[in-house]
Protein backbone atom coordinates (compact mmCIF):
# COMPACT_ATOMS: atom_id res chain seq x y z
CA UNK A 1 0.00 0.00 0.00
CA UNK A 2 1.16 3.45 -0.74
CA UNK A 3 0.78 6.23 1.75
CA UNK A 4 -1.13 9.22 0.58
CA UNK A 5 2.05 11.22 0.34
CA UNK A 6 3.67 8.66 -1.91
CA UNK A 7 0.61 8.60 -4.14
CA UNK A 8 0.73 12.36 -4.40
CA UNK A 9 4.38 12.19 -5.29
CA UNK A 10 3.79 9.64 -8.07
CA UNK A 11 1.02 11.80 -9.40
CA UNK A 12 3.20 14.84 -9.41
CA UNK A 13 5.95 13.11 -11.36
CA UNK A 14 3.41 11.58 -13.71
CA UNK A 15 2.01 14.96 -14.48
CA UNK A 16 5.45 16.25 -15.21
CA UNK A 17 6.37 13.42 -17.59
CA UNK A 18 2.96 13.69 -19.20
CA UNK A 19 4.05 16.87 -20.86
CA UNK A 20 5.57 15.56 -24.04
CA UNK A 21 8.92 17.05 -24.95
CA UNK A 22 10.20 15.67 -28.23
CA UNK A 23 13.68 14.22 -28.54
CA UNK A 24 15.24 15.66 -31.62
CA UNK A 25 18.37 14.64 -33.51
CA UNK A 26 19.82 17.76 -35.09
CA UNK A 27 22.23 17.51 -37.99
CA UNK A 28 23.87 20.82 -38.81
CA UNK A 29 26.35 21.96 -41.39
CA UNK A 30 29.69 23.18 -40.10
CA UNK A 31 29.98 25.97 -42.66
CA UNK A 32 26.84 28.00 -41.97
CA UNK A 33 26.23 26.83 -38.39
CA UNK A 34 29.58 25.78 -36.93
CA UNK A 35 28.72 26.51 -33.31
CA UNK A 36 26.66 23.88 -31.52
CA UNK A 37 25.68 26.28 -28.74
CA UNK A 38 24.33 28.62 -31.38
CA UNK A 39 22.26 25.82 -32.96
CA UNK A 40 21.03 24.83 -29.51
CA UNK A 41 19.74 28.35 -28.97
CA UNK A 42 17.29 27.97 -31.89
CA UNK A 43 15.42 25.27 -29.99
CA UNK A 44 13.05 25.76 -27.04
CA UNK A 45 15.13 25.25 -23.88
CA UNK A 46 13.33 22.06 -22.80
CA UNK A 47 13.78 20.49 -26.22
CA UNK A 48 17.41 21.59 -26.50
CA UNK A 49 18.18 19.77 -23.23
CA UNK A 50 17.11 16.43 -24.67
CA UNK A 51 18.35 16.97 -28.21
CA UNK A 52 21.47 15.48 -29.78
CA UNK A 53 23.62 17.49 -32.13
CA UNK A 54 25.65 16.10 -34.97
CA UNK A 55 27.90 18.41 -36.92
CA UNK A 56 28.26 17.44 -40.57
CA UNK A 57 30.92 18.68 -42.91
CA UNK A 58 28.08 19.42 -45.33
CA UNK A 59 24.43 18.40 -45.41
CA UNK A 60 25.46 16.49 -48.55
CA UNK A 61 26.86 13.99 -46.06
CA UNK A 62 23.39 13.51 -44.62
CA UNK A 63 22.26 10.02 -45.50
CA UNK A 64 18.62 9.10 -45.33
CA UNK A 65 19.77 6.19 -43.17
CA UNK A 66 20.94 8.59 -40.45
CA UNK A 67 17.38 9.81 -40.03
CA UNK A 68 15.89 6.32 -40.16
CA UNK A 69 18.36 5.10 -37.57
CA UNK A 70 17.60 8.06 -35.29
CA UNK A 71 13.88 7.28 -35.41
CA UNK A 72 14.58 3.61 -34.72
CA UNK A 73 16.76 4.61 -31.78
CA UNK A 74 13.97 6.55 -30.11
CA UNK A 75 14.17 10.11 -31.38
CA UNK A 76 10.86 11.75 -32.22
CA UNK A 77 12.21 13.98 -34.92
CA UNK A 78 15.19 14.65 -37.15
CA UNK A 79 16.14 18.20 -38.04
CA UNK A 80 18.60 19.03 -40.78
CA UNK A 81 20.09 22.53 -40.94
CA UNK A 82 22.33 23.56 -43.79
CA UNK A 83 23.37 26.40 -46.01
CA UNK A 84 20.97 28.15 -48.31
CA UNK A 85 20.71 26.79 -51.83
CA UNK A 86 23.52 28.36 -53.85
CA UNK A 87 25.65 28.93 -50.75
CA UNK A 88 26.97 25.39 -50.29
CA UNK A 89 30.70 25.26 -49.59
CA UNK A 90 30.83 22.26 -51.92
CA UNK A 91 28.50 23.90 -54.43
CA UNK A 92 25.61 21.42 -54.48
CA UNK A 93 25.84 19.30 -51.32
CA UNK A 94 22.64 20.76 -49.92
CA UNK A 95 20.80 20.21 -53.21
CA UNK A 96 21.84 16.57 -53.19
CA UNK A 97 20.71 16.30 -49.58
CA UNK A 98 17.42 17.90 -50.46
CA UNK A 99 16.63 15.31 -53.13
CA UNK A 100 17.53 12.49 -50.80
CA UNK A 101 15.51 13.91 -47.94
CA UNK A 102 12.48 14.56 -50.13
CA UNK A 103 12.63 10.92 -51.19
CA UNK A 104 13.00 9.89 -47.57
CA UNK A 105 10.02 11.93 -46.52
CA UNK A 106 7.95 10.12 -49.14
CA UNK A 107 9.20 6.74 -47.93
CA UNK A 108 8.44 7.66 -44.32
CA UNK A 109 4.90 8.61 -45.24
CA UNK A 110 4.41 5.31 -47.08
CA UNK A 111 5.75 3.37 -44.10
CA UNK A 112 3.50 5.10 -41.58
CA UNK A 113 5.87 7.73 -40.18
CA UNK A 114 4.63 11.32 -40.20
CA UNK A 115 6.90 13.07 -42.69
CA UNK A 116 6.66 16.12 -40.41
CA UNK A 117 9.14 14.32 -38.14
CA UNK A 118 11.76 15.22 -40.68
CA UNK A 119 12.59 18.92 -40.71
CA UNK A 120 14.90 20.61 -43.18
CA UNK A 121 15.87 24.26 -43.16
CA UNK A 122 18.43 26.08 -45.22
CA UNK A 123 19.61 28.69 -42.76
CA UNK A 124 20.84 32.19 -43.42
CA UNK A 125 23.58 32.69 -40.80
CA UNK A 126 22.79 36.42 -40.79
CA UNK A 127 19.12 35.92 -40.09
CA UNK A 128 18.91 33.93 -36.88
CA UNK A 129 15.42 35.21 -36.15
CA UNK A 130 13.99 33.44 -39.18
CA UNK A 131 15.90 30.25 -38.41
CA UNK A 132 14.60 30.28 -34.86
CA UNK A 133 11.04 30.87 -36.00
CA UNK A 134 11.15 28.01 -38.50
CA UNK A 135 12.81 25.62 -36.06
CA UNK A 136 10.14 26.45 -33.49
CA UNK A 137 7.31 25.84 -35.88
CA UNK A 138 8.92 22.50 -36.70
CA UNK A 139 8.94 21.66 -32.97
CA UNK A 140 5.29 22.73 -32.72
CA UNK A 141 4.58 20.21 -35.46
CA UNK A 142 6.30 17.48 -33.44
CA UNK A 143 4.30 18.43 -30.36
CA UNK A 144 1.12 18.15 -32.38
CA UNK A 145 1.82 14.64 -33.69
CA UNK A 146 3.20 13.36 -30.38
CA UNK A 147 5.91 10.86 -29.52
CA UNK A 148 7.15 8.44 -32.15
CA UNK A 149 7.44 5.34 -30.00
Amino acid sequence: MKTEDETKETRASEIETDVFQPRVAVFHCRWCLPDEENVRSFLPAEVAKRASFMKLNCTGRMEAEFAVKALGAGYDGVLVLGCQIGECHYRTGNEQAWKRLALLSNILALAGVYPERLGVHWADPFDEGTTKRIVNSYIDGLLAIGPFK
Binding site: V68, K69, G72, L103, I107, A109, L110, A111, G112, Y114
Partner: protein, 283 residues
Protein backbone atom coordinates in the same frame (compact mmCIF):
# COMPACT_ATOMS: atom_id res chain seq x y z
CA UNK B 1 -2.54 -22.98 -73.06
CA UNK B 2 -0.01 -21.52 -70.70
CA UNK B 3 1.72 -24.88 -70.56
CA UNK B 4 1.99 -24.88 -74.33
CA UNK B 5 3.54 -21.43 -74.43
CA UNK B 6 5.92 -22.40 -71.70
CA UNK B 7 7.11 -25.51 -73.51
CA UNK B 8 7.47 -23.50 -76.61
CA UNK B 9 9.62 -20.96 -74.78
CA UNK B 10 11.77 -23.72 -73.36
CA UNK B 11 12.38 -25.14 -76.85
CA UNK B 12 13.18 -21.69 -78.18
CA UNK B 13 15.60 -21.05 -75.33
CA UNK B 14 17.36 -24.39 -75.76
CA UNK B 15 17.74 -23.80 -79.46
CA UNK B 16 19.23 -20.34 -78.98
CA UNK B 17 21.49 -21.55 -76.17
CA UNK B 18 22.68 -24.47 -78.32
CA UNK B 19 23.46 -22.14 -81.18
CA UNK B 20 25.38 -19.77 -78.92
CA UNK B 21 27.41 -22.65 -77.50
CA UNK B 22 28.41 -24.06 -80.88
CA UNK B 23 29.10 -20.73 -82.49
CA UNK B 24 31.65 -20.36 -79.76
CA UNK B 25 31.39 -16.69 -78.97
CA UNK B 26 30.44 -17.33 -75.33
CA UNK B 27 32.03 -19.43 -72.61
CA UNK B 28 28.67 -20.59 -71.38
CA UNK B 29 25.00 -19.81 -71.11
CA UNK B 30 23.71 -18.81 -67.69
CA UNK B 31 20.16 -20.01 -67.08
CA UNK B 32 18.17 -22.12 -64.68
CA UNK B 33 18.80 -25.85 -64.40
CA UNK B 34 16.07 -28.25 -63.42
CA UNK B 35 17.25 -30.66 -60.70
CA UNK B 36 15.10 -32.76 -58.42
CA UNK B 37 11.99 -30.58 -58.64
CA UNK B 38 14.00 -27.43 -58.06
CA UNK B 39 15.73 -24.92 -60.25
CA UNK B 40 19.22 -23.59 -59.65
CA UNK B 41 21.25 -21.07 -61.62
CA UNK B 42 23.70 -22.91 -63.81
CA UNK B 43 26.29 -22.11 -66.44
CA UNK B 44 25.51 -24.41 -69.33
CA UNK B 45 28.66 -25.24 -71.26
CA UNK B 46 27.62 -28.23 -73.36
CA UNK B 47 24.66 -28.98 -75.60
CA UNK B 48 23.90 -32.21 -73.70
CA UNK B 49 23.03 -30.32 -70.54
CA UNK B 50 20.50 -28.17 -72.31
CA UNK B 51 17.76 -30.81 -71.95
CA UNK B 52 17.56 -29.73 -68.32
CA UNK B 53 17.38 -26.02 -69.01
CA UNK B 54 14.38 -24.51 -67.29
CA UNK B 55 12.43 -21.41 -68.25
CA UNK B 56 9.49 -21.31 -65.90
CA UNK B 57 11.46 -21.16 -62.66
CA UNK B 58 11.91 -17.74 -61.16
CA UNK B 59 15.20 -16.83 -59.62
CA UNK B 60 17.24 -13.67 -60.25
CA UNK B 61 20.46 -14.64 -62.02
CA UNK B 62 22.19 -11.27 -62.41
CA UNK B 63 24.14 -11.61 -59.17
CA UNK B 64 25.42 -14.99 -60.31
CA UNK B 65 26.55 -13.49 -63.61
CA UNK B 66 28.34 -10.72 -61.72
CA UNK B 67 30.23 -13.09 -59.41
CA UNK B 68 31.08 -15.45 -62.24
CA UNK B 69 32.62 -12.76 -64.41
CA UNK B 70 34.44 -11.29 -61.46
CA UNK B 71 35.95 -14.69 -60.70
CA UNK B 72 37.29 -14.70 -64.24
CA UNK B 73 38.67 -11.20 -63.72
CA UNK B 74 36.05 -10.00 -66.15
CA UNK B 75 37.74 -11.82 -69.02
CA UNK B 76 35.08 -14.32 -70.04
CA UNK B 77 31.94 -13.77 -72.00
CA UNK B 78 28.64 -15.35 -71.14
CA UNK B 79 25.11 -15.39 -72.43
CA UNK B 80 22.33 -14.93 -69.91
CA UNK B 81 18.77 -16.00 -70.46
CA UNK B 82 17.21 -12.97 -68.89
CA UNK B 83 13.70 -11.88 -68.06
CA UNK B 84 12.96 -8.16 -68.08
CA UNK B 85 13.93 -7.87 -64.42
CA UNK B 86 17.16 -9.85 -64.92
CA UNK B 87 18.17 -7.44 -67.66
CA UNK B 88 17.33 -4.45 -65.49
CA UNK B 89 19.38 -5.93 -62.64
CA UNK B 90 22.33 -6.28 -65.01
CA UNK B 91 21.93 -2.70 -66.17
CA UNK B 92 21.90 -1.44 -62.58
CA UNK B 93 24.99 -3.56 -61.81
CA UNK B 94 26.67 -2.05 -64.85
CA UNK B 95 25.95 1.45 -63.50
CA UNK B 96 27.77 0.45 -60.33
CA UNK B 97 30.57 -0.86 -62.54
CA UNK B 98 30.01 -4.27 -61.01
CA UNK B 99 29.51 -5.93 -64.38
CA UNK B 100 30.73 -5.11 -67.83
CA UNK B 101 27.82 -5.44 -70.26
CA UNK B 102 30.23 -6.03 -73.14
CA UNK B 103 30.92 -9.41 -71.57
CA UNK B 104 27.28 -10.39 -71.49
CA UNK B 105 25.01 -11.42 -74.32
CA UNK B 106 21.47 -10.99 -73.09
CA UNK B 107 18.95 -13.47 -74.45
CA UNK B 108 15.67 -11.75 -73.68
CA UNK B 109 12.89 -13.87 -72.24
CA UNK B 110 9.33 -12.53 -72.07
CA UNK B 111 7.21 -13.49 -69.10
CA UNK B 112 3.77 -15.03 -69.50
CA UNK B 113 0.60 -13.29 -68.34
CA UNK B 114 0.52 -15.45 -65.21
CA UNK B 115 4.15 -14.82 -64.37
CA UNK B 116 3.67 -11.09 -64.81
CA UNK B 117 0.64 -11.18 -62.51
CA UNK B 118 2.60 -13.11 -59.92
CA UNK B 119 5.12 -10.28 -59.74
CA UNK B 120 2.65 -7.40 -60.21
CA UNK B 121 5.15 -6.48 -62.89
CA UNK B 122 4.96 -3.18 -64.74
CA UNK B 123 7.49 -4.29 -67.38
CA UNK B 124 7.39 -8.08 -67.82
CA UNK B 125 9.69 -8.08 -70.84
CA UNK B 126 13.31 -7.21 -71.69
CA UNK B 127 14.28 -4.61 -74.29
CA UNK B 128 14.69 -7.26 -76.98
CA UNK B 129 12.58 -10.38 -76.77
CA UNK B 130 14.08 -13.54 -78.24
CA UNK B 131 12.12 -16.11 -76.29
CA UNK B 132 8.33 -15.93 -75.90
CA UNK B 133 6.13 -12.97 -76.63
CA UNK B 134 5.72 -9.76 -74.61
CA UNK B 135 2.59 -9.32 -72.58
CA UNK B 136 1.31 -6.06 -71.16
CA UNK B 137 2.03 -4.54 -67.79
CA UNK B 138 0.05 -5.44 -64.72
CA UNK B 139 -2.00 -2.76 -63.05
CA UNK B 140 -0.58 -3.43 -59.64
CA UNK B 141 -2.60 -0.82 -57.80
CA UNK B 142 -5.55 -3.21 -58.09
CA UNK B 143 -3.64 -5.71 -56.03
CA UNK B 144 -3.86 -6.31 -52.35
CA UNK B 145 -3.18 -3.50 -49.94
CA UNK B 146 -1.30 -1.32 -52.42
CA UNK B 147 -4.29 0.72 -53.44
CA UNK B 148 -5.60 0.51 -49.91
CA UNK B 149 -2.32 1.68 -48.46
CA UNK B 150 -2.47 4.83 -50.53
CA UNK B 151 -5.93 5.61 -49.20
CA UNK B 152 -4.88 5.07 -45.57
CA UNK B 153 -3.81 7.97 -43.39
CA UNK B 154 -0.40 7.94 -41.73
CA UNK B 155 -1.59 6.45 -38.44
CA UNK B 156 -3.36 3.62 -40.25
CA UNK B 157 -0.27 2.94 -42.31
CA UNK B 158 1.76 2.81 -39.15
CA UNK B 159 -0.55 0.16 -37.73
CA UNK B 160 -0.48 -1.73 -41.02
CA UNK B 161 3.30 -1.81 -41.30
CA UNK B 162 4.19 -2.40 -37.66
CA UNK B 163 1.92 -5.43 -37.64
CA UNK B 164 3.52 -6.71 -40.80
CA UNK B 165 7.12 -5.83 -39.98
CA UNK B 166 6.74 -7.46 -36.56
CA UNK B 167 6.51 -10.80 -38.32
CA UNK B 168 10.09 -10.41 -39.59
CA UNK B 169 12.46 -13.13 -38.37
CA UNK B 170 15.55 -11.40 -39.76
CA UNK B 171 16.43 -14.27 -42.03
CA UNK B 172 18.01 -11.80 -44.48
CA UNK B 173 16.32 -13.61 -47.35
CA UNK B 174 15.16 -10.30 -48.82
CA UNK B 175 18.68 -8.97 -48.83
CA UNK B 176 20.34 -12.16 -50.03
CA UNK B 177 18.08 -12.72 -53.00
CA UNK B 178 18.35 -9.17 -54.39
CA UNK B 179 21.16 -8.79 -56.93
CA UNK B 180 21.28 -5.07 -56.13
CA UNK B 181 21.41 -5.40 -52.35
CA UNK B 182 25.04 -6.40 -52.43
CA UNK B 183 27.21 -4.08 -50.34
CA UNK B 184 30.25 -5.81 -48.93
CA UNK B 185 29.55 -4.49 -45.45
CA UNK B 186 25.85 -4.60 -44.77
CA UNK B 187 24.40 -2.14 -42.31
CA UNK B 188 21.63 -4.56 -41.48
CA UNK B 189 24.21 -6.67 -39.67
CA UNK B 190 25.95 -3.89 -37.79
CA UNK B 191 25.09 -3.01 -34.21
CA UNK B 192 25.67 0.63 -35.05
CA UNK B 193 22.63 0.56 -37.30
CA UNK B 194 20.27 -2.09 -35.99
CA UNK B 195 19.96 -4.07 -32.78
CA UNK B 196 21.83 -7.31 -33.34
CA UNK B 197 20.45 -10.67 -32.23
CA UNK B 198 16.89 -9.50 -31.65
CA UNK B 199 13.63 -10.20 -33.41
CA UNK B 200 11.49 -8.62 -34.50
CA UNK B 201 13.82 -5.85 -35.63
CA UNK B 202 13.05 -2.35 -34.37
CA UNK B 203 10.62 -0.32 -36.40
CA UNK B 204 11.40 1.33 -38.71
CA UNK B 205 15.20 1.04 -38.95
CA UNK B 206 15.69 -2.47 -40.28
CA UNK B 207 13.25 -2.35 -43.17
CA UNK B 208 13.61 1.31 -44.01
CA UNK B 209 17.41 1.25 -44.05
CA UNK B 210 17.07 -1.37 -46.76
CA UNK B 211 14.28 0.58 -48.44
CA UNK B 212 16.15 3.88 -48.64
CA UNK B 213 19.36 2.19 -49.68
CA UNK B 214 17.67 0.44 -52.59
CA UNK B 215 15.17 3.17 -53.41
CA UNK B 216 16.76 4.31 -56.67
CA UNK B 217 18.20 0.92 -57.62
CA UNK B 218 15.20 -1.37 -57.23
CA UNK B 219 13.89 -2.59 -60.56
CA UNK B 220 10.66 -4.01 -59.19
CA UNK B 221 11.35 -7.72 -59.62
CA UNK B 222 9.52 -8.71 -56.43
CA UNK B 223 12.18 -11.33 -55.65
CA UNK B 224 12.46 -10.01 -52.08
CA UNK B 225 8.75 -10.38 -51.57
CA UNK B 226 8.75 -13.92 -52.96
CA UNK B 227 11.77 -14.84 -50.84
CA UNK B 228 10.26 -13.61 -47.59
CA UNK B 229 9.05 -16.57 -45.53
CA UNK B 230 6.84 -14.28 -43.46
CA UNK B 231 4.90 -12.78 -46.36
CA UNK B 232 6.13 -9.22 -45.87
CA UNK B 233 5.15 -7.22 -48.97
CA UNK B 234 8.53 -5.59 -49.54
CA UNK B 235 8.16 -5.62 -53.31
CA UNK B 236 4.99 -3.58 -53.05
CA UNK B 237 6.64 -1.04 -50.79
CA UNK B 238 9.45 -0.75 -53.32
CA UNK B 239 7.02 -0.41 -56.19
CA UNK B 240 5.47 2.63 -54.50
CA UNK B 241 8.92 4.14 -53.99
CA UNK B 242 9.70 3.50 -57.65
CA UNK B 243 6.47 5.31 -58.48
CA UNK B 244 7.71 8.35 -56.60
CA UNK B 245 10.96 8.52 -58.58
CA UNK B 246 9.02 7.97 -61.77
CA UNK B 247 6.52 10.73 -61.06
CA UNK B 248 9.00 13.31 -59.73
CA UNK B 249 12.02 12.70 -61.94
CA UNK B 250 10.69 10.44 -64.68
CA UNK B 251 13.38 8.07 -63.50
CA UNK B 252 13.19 4.33 -63.73
CA UNK B 253 16.01 2.13 -62.51
CA UNK B 254 17.33 -0.50 -64.90
CA UNK B 255 16.17 1.22 -68.05
CA UNK B 256 19.41 2.47 -69.50
CA UNK B 257 23.02 1.97 -68.33
CA UNK B 258 23.85 5.60 -69.18
CA UNK B 259 20.99 7.07 -67.18
CA UNK B 260 22.06 8.44 -63.80
CA UNK B 261 19.98 8.18 -60.69
CA UNK B 262 18.60 11.64 -59.87
CA UNK B 263 19.49 11.21 -56.20
CA UNK B 264 22.95 9.75 -56.59
CA UNK B 265 26.19 11.63 -56.30
CA UNK B 266 28.55 10.19 -58.85
CA UNK B 267 31.92 9.87 -57.21
CA UNK B 268 33.32 8.30 -60.36
CA UNK B 269 34.93 5.27 -58.80
CA UNK B 270 33.76 1.69 -59.01
CA UNK B 271 34.51 -1.45 -57.01
CA UNK B 272 37.53 -2.19 -59.20
CA UNK B 273 39.21 1.00 -58.04
CA UNK B 274 38.15 0.42 -54.45
CA UNK B 275 39.54 -3.09 -54.56
CA UNK B 276 42.81 -1.75 -55.88
CA UNK B 277 42.94 0.74 -53.03
CA UNK B 278 42.17 -1.95 -50.49
CA UNK B 279 44.84 -4.23 -51.88
CA UNK B 280 47.26 -1.35 -51.86
CA UNK B 281 46.43 -0.69 -48.23
CA UNK B 282 47.07 -4.27 -47.23
CA UNK B 283 50.53 -4.51 -48.79
Amino acid sequence: MTEEVRDNREEQAREIAGRLLTEGNVDGVLALLHVMDHVVPHLFTSREELAHLNISGHYPVAGVAERLLRRWDNNGRIAVIARGCDERHLIELAKKKSVNLDRIKIVGLACTVDEAKDCHCVRPFPTEVEVGRSVGKVDYLDHFALGELIRMDIAERRKFWTQIFDRCIKCYGCRNVCPLCNCEDCRLEEARWVRVGEIPPEYPSFHLIRAVHLADKCVGCFACERACPMGIPLGKLHQLIRDYLQSVYGYEAGRDPDERSPIQIDVGIGPDVLQGLRRGGED
